[in-house]
Symmetry: C2
Subunit: 390 residues, 2 copies
């Protein structure tokens, strides 16, 4: 399975996402624990918020007509009481309930209190400085739609509307299967390598809103790889790491091919070319390359969007920063190139490394500049967008 | 304490951050649980990575001199064995250990295997397709510096270098004290409001890397507010919500003034003007306004940078997206204005609301467009930067 031809990134991603069915299982979560979860049902307000007329300013609640003609030079004198009626005003502060008969608030700055009476030095109109019942939310109003990921302010809003529980989609369950005979979980002898691609993906997947099963290392044996894949077909997504290259170690895509279907093997991204995408018993599988940086790039390129699709997150935004390139960046011809860069004092500095195995370059980098297939590169001084690492 | 004068945002933030001392306490965390934590010590590689010479390609390990003159038309025939010496080659795959006497790898595509011999159809030079010991990381190399927040790839790298534990700064401990006599924790009667500002801040603070103590609601009584502040002076940061407005409910800044020092009260941001910043027994305090949106804006403006400073996170980037304004946005003259916007099909749509209490506008918004003090606003069709909500 030598991939002389490489599928363009867009084609590969599109094909893969089309094969992924968003999770339909739902569960109920207490609102206070629902941060980051994705709503499965719309939320309709069951009551008005606020549930009363409130003062929008600190001052005195009044019957607006009583202030007719009041000004700095000719104040109106009114009595101060606990309740409001014609001729009587009452102290209120921002957010507090308006007395029933009051229909406006005179700001504190415009009132001079003199014992049990007060001079009103400004005229107010009915409803001035008064927030109406239901001003923020009206009963029956659509508040949030399915597919919305709950943020702290949403949880605040829903709590204020007395929504105690929300129905959310189950989180995607991602199986992570590291493969490779040189890998060890503990202390490596000479010729051995500590398993880190699986670990890195476990942490990323969690950050992207999914749960994970971090499986033991599987040796480069066809039967073991097949068994490992079959064991996790109840997951929503399977990630393998390693064994995607040409030659004898092309075992993982071959196992996917035997058990299911390889959609793409060999993608025009750099690094990350040996990535394969497929299905085993309808469970989507991303075969990630073994070189750590290629693995990371492929995770950003395919695993993150796959998780978002499983989770019903259709409206997501790539968060990025822009800066000026400190030196020329060249893409790999014909490939979508992910160049590692650091941002120093607003300048975007390419990290000069060769090879896709150089994980230490990741520690120095703040993110990627993505150079599309049809772009040769970017010149020193050009403004570029940096996709920051999660 | 009527704040006719409002401190410019930059001045207020600078004054506040200068009063905050980053946390010096450290603790040791297992590397696998250290995502998001901030390094307190530099990390120096204790060994080479990889710890062996490795094949950089799938193919056959050879003594390079044996391939002299080999080509498609005049292949060189060599013996296949388990180890490599002059005249004998051995199968290797990407990442595997190079046999001791081998100094190059011929790519699999350039080898035709014939039983126990192989035709080599390309010449390789010494070191071709071989990764050197320490190629990724050299023993003694500085890997990461203090103040670095650990991301999944960093944890992968450190694990590969057999770093099992890391020394990190203690997470900031933030006390959150909601104040207001209209607030209730449970079901609100008419005239009552569910406490949500404290809850929202608890979730935000956690997202920004801190721990929190979410305190009970404190009534608008001077002594109770003072007692609540004093109880939490062992925290790294105190947030209060509500009670920052003019008039009788100006209680919280007054309590800060009595017990410590108010640095700023009244800031030229909109919404969020009534925010106060101060110190009680050297513990920084942010008095957040009670109106939910003003409260949220003030959290982004002051609480997030305060937490980052406490946590030693000096190198942070504002993640944003840019888009085209769907309609005119006008700032409040003289104030740094935080306009809520939604992003639909790459267009930035202002959320039309009035008042800073309209929490429902937050649910509809994806983020803020920040209009600086000296800018009147932005026109329809202009490119603007949207700071997305966390």
């Amino acid at each position: 399975m030598i991939f002389k031809t490489r599928t363009p990134f867009d084609v590969a991603l599109d094909m893969f996402l089309k094969a992924i069915v968003p999770i339909e299982d739902t569960e109920v979560s207490p609102i206070r624990e629902a941060r980051g979860r994705v709503l499965a049902r719309q939320i309709i307000a069951q009551r008005d918020e606020p549930n009363y007329r409130r003062a929008a300013m600190d001052g005195y609640a009044v019957v607006a007509d009583d202030t007719l003609g009041a000004s700095e030079l000719s104040p109106v004198v009114l009595k101060i009481g606990d309740d409001v009626r014609r001729g009587v005003i009452s102290r209120v502060h921002t957010g507090s309930k308006m007395p029933d008969q009051a229909d406006a608030v005179v700001m504190i700055e415009d009132v001079e209190r003199l014992d049990d009476v007060a001079e009103i030095r400004a005229q107010v109109h009915p409803f001035e400085n008064v927030g109406l019942k239901g001003e923020d939310v009206r009963r029956g109003e659509l508040i949030l739609s399915p597919g919305h990921r709950l943020r702290p302010a949403d949880i605040g809003l829903l709590s204020s509307l007395e929504v105690d529980d929300v129905t959310v989609y189950r989180q995607p369950d991602v199986a992570i299967i590291p493969t490779g005979e040189e890998l060890v979980g503990g202390k490596p002898a000479e010729g051995e390598v500590v398993e880190t691609n699986g670990l890195m993906n476990a942490l990323l997947v969690e950050q992207w809103g999914a749960r994970y099963r971090y499986r033991n290392i599987v040796l480069d044996v066809r039967e073991l790889i097949e068994a490992a894949l079959l064991r996790d077909t109840d997951a929503d997504l399977i990630l393998t790491t390693g064994g995607t290259s040409v030659g004898i170690r092309d075992l993982v895509p071959e196992a996917v091919h035997k058990l299911g279907k390889v959609l793409v093997h060999g993608i025009a991204i750099s690094p990350g070319k040996p990535t394969a995408l497929g299905l085993v018993e309808n469970t989507p599988v991303v075969c990630l390359p073994g070189f750590p940086v290629a693995c990371l790039v492929a995770s950003y390129a395919f695993v993150k969007p796959a998780i978002y699709r499983l989770a019903h997150l259709d409206r997501t935004f790539k968060r990025s920063v822009t800066g000026t390139l400190a030196s020329k960046l060249t893409g790999k011809p014909g490939s979508r190139t992910y160049a590692r860069v650091a941002i120093r004092n607003g300048r975007v500095e390419p990290i000069m490394v060769s090879g896709s195995g150089i994980l230490s370059s990741m520690a120095k980098a703040d993110g990627f500049v993505i150079i599309p297939e049809n772009v040769e590169g970017y010149d020193e001084g050009q403004r570029v967008e940096v996709v920051l690492f999660d």
